[in-house]
Amino acid sequence: MIDLIKQPWPWYFSGTMIALIMLLLLFFGKSFGFSSNLRTMCSMAGAGRKIRFFDFQWKNQIWNMMFLIGSVAGGYIATNFLSNPSPLKLSPATVADLNRLNVSFDGTLNPASLFSLPALTDSKTLAILLIGGLLVGFGSRYAGGCTSGHAISGLSNLQLPSLIAVIGFFIGGLIMTFLIIPFIF
């Protein structure tokens, strides 16, 4: 059993499990949407005193913050206890493309050259991470949701606005991948 879990999961099993998370939250009387937590965190830090957008009943969102804390723990557990050492099966075409951008594929989930502690001493890397995060935070609130809220919850409920948002995610992603990343990496 544990050996089965330790293997990388096939896409159809992973997709089924994500749908299960959405259903689990629906049965708890909530809805699956992760980026609301970023707004909640701003409100918890006191942003609501000056800015109306953050002046809301954030205590109703504590359940979602618990979900967030659980997700950090889940990342720790999966990485340390539920992984096998075999490298990620990334497409050779992607490996070649990334090599041309001087990002080497190290077989893990995320490149150490961007996300490891030593990488943070490089000011360009710091800027990439900070600006990238800023775009995600700003964009998800502007669009009223992220991958979980729109692509999973919204599309499951056949919401046209979510479809527009998901198309927007892809347009932005393609622009970054093909038009911007080649110049900054």
Partner: protein
């Protein structure tokens, strides 16, 4: 005690994000370069099953664990904010390889750089709150 179940659900979510490799910068690059079916398969499976499940919940008026009807909210009708806000999100998603969930999951995995991405995301959310009323929606 009532809150523990959300933490357990989050924990399961974190494990899924790592084991599915959806929390991988490499996999997101591969997706945007159309070089593998992996991410499309994950999202496609989740959406197809999600659509069926939501239809069944509506058809049979299935209740939640507290006995209340499960409600689905219609997203506000608009175009610009979803398309434009979504595109801004997409720029950041492709650059950092992380949407909001995986940022935190990967922090738990031990990627220190994710703390900077999260800081950026909080700043971006804050900035949106500040200038919201001056933006077209």
């Amino acid at each position: 005690m009532k809150l523990i179940k959300y933490m357990l659900a989050g924990m399961l979510f974190g494990i899924i994000m790592i084991k599915s490799e959806a929390a991988s910068w490499y996999r997101i690059q591969e997706m945007f370069r159309f070089q593998s079916f992996h991410m499309y398969g994950i999202i496609g499976t989740a959406v197809v099953l999600g659509i069926i499940a939501v239809m069944l919940i509506k058809k049979f008026n299935i209740k939640d664990i507290a006995g209340n009807p499960i409600l689905f909210h219609h997203k506000e009708r608009a175009y610009f904010k979803y398309a434009f806000g979504g595109a801004i999100f997409g720029l950041g998603w492709a650059l950092t390889g992380a949407c909001p969930g995986p940022m935190f999951v990967n922090l738990g995995s031990g990627y220190a750089g994710m703390a900077i991405v999260i800081l950026g995301a909080l700043l971006g959310t804050f900035l949106y709150g500040v200038i919201k009323n001056n933006l077209p929606h």
